[in-house]
Structure formats: structure tokens, C-alpha cells
Amino acid sequence: MKNIILKNRYTLLVVTLVVYIGVLVAEGAITGREVRVFEFENPFFDFNVNNFEGFRESRESRVSDDSRSGSGEDRGENRGENRDDSRDEDSGDA
């Protein structure tokens, strides 16, 4: 079997690509994959240089909130579920 796979570069490429596609198709079928956008927080896209003091305050209160509640829910779920409704629609968009 190894001799066939390693016969030449073309057989090896085909086998590698078959494994690659096979793994992705199998994973997609098992998990029911759809296109998802993974939202990770990016508050600095909200930054307004004319309101730096306001930004500072929001950062300070943000940091103290996180240290009380721990990270997680408003970091953006990795499986692409909808974000927290309390968040501003525009924040975090690419």
C-alpha cells in the first residue's frame, strides 16, 4: 500500500488530497457544517479619537466587569452562534 502511495509525486498528491477532502466532508456531515462567521470582539473599531476619555472609561469598566464575571459569553461563540443582543450591531464587524 505504501509503495503505491509513494510510487511517484502524483499518486502521493492524489492520496493526500483524498484524505484532506475525506476528513472535511466527514466532519461537515457529522457536524452539519454551514458557513459561519466567527465574531471575536474588537472594541477598538469603535474608537473615536475625539472621545478618548469616554473610551478610557469604557475600557476601565470593561476590564473590571471581566475580572468579576470571567471571560466567555461576550467573546463570540466559536461555533458562530449569534452574539449577545445587548451588543451594538456595528461593533466587531469586519
Binding site: 476528513v23 466532508v25 477598538f44 471581566d66
Partner: protein, 284 residues
């Protein structure tokens, strides 16, 4: 791992940096120089009074704030460097296993007692771990020169710049964030790294064309054979949000590595890298 193996691996990494110093050292240095020159030129266009006001404002802006909290502020400056790193990485990865076959130096490299696995892993390690270090060093040099220029401007305009120290600390803290941003993004992009290495090792000519062409073809192939589009969905999910390629918070680092999508991507990337390792045996 015994000491000799570590020394061997270090020699492989050193070789990569020496061979591609233009990409890893030259390119970020040029970006840093351009940013410094542009900033300095802008500063020279500003009216003296406005410049003094601006410098005073900057000097207290970061005053009292934790450098780690304000470090993300500097990520915007990192964007041109990150873009340069990604472009350099593509150039590096698609050429690295192709060029030494083209110029036949592969016969020398393989006449040394270094396995194909060590060789390919050293290239992955170079892109994921080593190249960002040089980029960060260039950014640090830029910050240092910027700070010196700011100080000179401040002194010559009679501005109290004591608070600049806080800004500099935040800038230094941002270097850690920039480095880990690059590292985490590399892990996220490990399938792309593996893909480029595979075709760098495979192609006898035009490896980039092969990599791009086959990438498009496998998508059609999956649809044709299985009637599914999981591959296209997967790729689109990974590429969809540019926000993924810049980390703005220290707190999210671990989460970005230890999540299902990143870990699954590492598995897929490993399949492609394994293909590249075996492909290396074909020296023609």
C-alpha cells in the same frame, strides 16, 4: 530530545532566516522606515502651536492606565506589519520546497543527516514562531526611534513629556500582543501553511499556480462527487472575518487557540504538512 537534535534544529531555523532575510528582516524594516518617515513628515507640516498642543495631549493620554489595557491601542500600527508578514509568508512557503529543487541544492541538503520531517517542520516553525519575532523586533525599533523623535520634538517645543513613559510601556506591552496575534493566526491558518508547503514540494514549475488551481478544483470535485459544499463552507468560515487575524485583547488568546475550529484546522493542516514531508523525497 537530545542536545544534538536541538542544535541541529536551531541550525535549520538559522538557515531559513539567512536564506530569506529579505522577507523576515528587510521587509518589516522597510515598513517601519516608511511609517517613521511618513509620521515625521506629517509632524513637520503641522503648525508649531498645534504640534505643542498635540504633544502635550499625547504625553498625558496614557497616564495612569495599565500598559496591558492600552496595549491594544497600538495594534492599529501593527496592521501594515501583519499584512507584510502574511504576504511574505505566502512567498516563503510556496517557494521554500520548490527553489532548492529548481537549483539542485536539494542534493546537498539531503546529503546531510537531516530528515525530511525535520526540514519541513523547521519551515513551519520558522513561519509560526520565528518570523514574527523579527517583525516584532522591527516594530520595537520603530517605537524606540519614534519615542526618541517624539522626545526631541517635545523638548524643542518645550513640552513636558513625562507621560510619554506610560505610552512607551503600552507600546512595549503591545509587542507581546502583536507576537501572539501572529502566532495564533498562524495556527488558525495552519491548513493554508500546509497547502502551500505541499504544492511547493510537489510542483516542478509554477507552484503558486498549482496551489491556486487545485484549490479551486477540489471545491468543484467535492460538489461533483458528494454533492456537498463542506469544503467551501469551511474555507469561507475561516476566511470570512478579518477580525480573526488581529487580536486586541490578552484575555482572548487562550480561547483562540483552544477552540474546536482552531484545533480541527491544526489536524487538517497536519495532514497537508505530512503530505509535504513525504513529497520531499521526490527530488527532481
Amino acid at each position: 530530545m537530545d542536545r544534538f537534535k536541538i542544535v541541529q534544529f536551531y541550525a535549520l531555523l538559522r538557515r531559513e532566516v539567512l536564506e530569506h532575510r529579505n522577507l523576515f528582516i528587510g521587509a518589516p524594516a522597510v515598513v517601519a522606515l516608511l511609517i517613521l518617515v511618513a509620521t515625521f513628515w506629517v509632524a513637520m507640516q503641522i503648525d508649531e502651536t498645534q504640534l505643542a498642543e498635540g504633544l502635550s495631549y499625547i504625553s498625558v493620554l496614557f497616564d495612569g492606565l495599565s500598559p496591558f489595557d492600552m496595549a491594544p491601542f497600538f495594534m492599529l500600527l501593527a496592521i501594515p506589519f501583519m499584512l507584510t508578514l502574511y504576504i511574505s509568508s505566502v512567498i516563503y512557503l510556496i517557494n521554500t520546497l520548490f527553489q532548492d529543487r529548481k537549483e539542485m541544492s536539494i542534493l546537498f541538503w539531503q546529503s546531510m543527516p537531516v530528515s525530511n520531517l525535520q526540514t519541513v517542520l523547521s519551515k513551519v516553525f520558522t513561519i509560526v514562531i520565528v518570523a514574527p519575532i523579527f517583525y516584532v523586533l522591527n516594530i520595537f525599533a520603530m517605537y524606540l526611534i519614534g519615542m526618541i523623535l517624539l522626545t526631541i520634538l517635545g523638548v524643542s517645543n518645550d513640552v513636558d513629556l513625562v507621560g510619554i513613559g506610560w505610552m512607551f510601556l503600552a507600546a512595549i506591552a503591545s509587542l507581546v500582543l502583536i507576537y501572539f496575534s501572529a502566532l495564533v493566526t498562524s495556527l488558525w491558518l495552519l491548513p493554508s501553511i500546509g497547502w502551500l508547503l505541499l504544492f511547493s514540494a510537489f510542483a516542478k514549475k509554477t507552484p503558486l499556480l498549482w496551489a491556486g488551481g487545485v484549490f479551486i478544483l477540489v471545491g468543484f470535485f467535492e460538489d461533483f462527487i458528494f454533492g456537498t459544499q463542506y469544503l467551501a463552507d469551511w474555507v469561507q468560515s475561516r476566511a470570512a472575518n478579518p477580525n480573526q487575524y488581529l487580536i486586541f485583547e490578552f484575555q482572548s488568546l487562550l480561547e483562540r487557540i483552544f477552540n474546536y475550529e482552531t484545533l480541527f484546522g491544526i489536524v487538517v493542516g497536519s495532514i497537508l504538512i505530512t503530505g509535504a514531508v513525504y513529497m520531499r523525497r521526490f527530488t527532481d
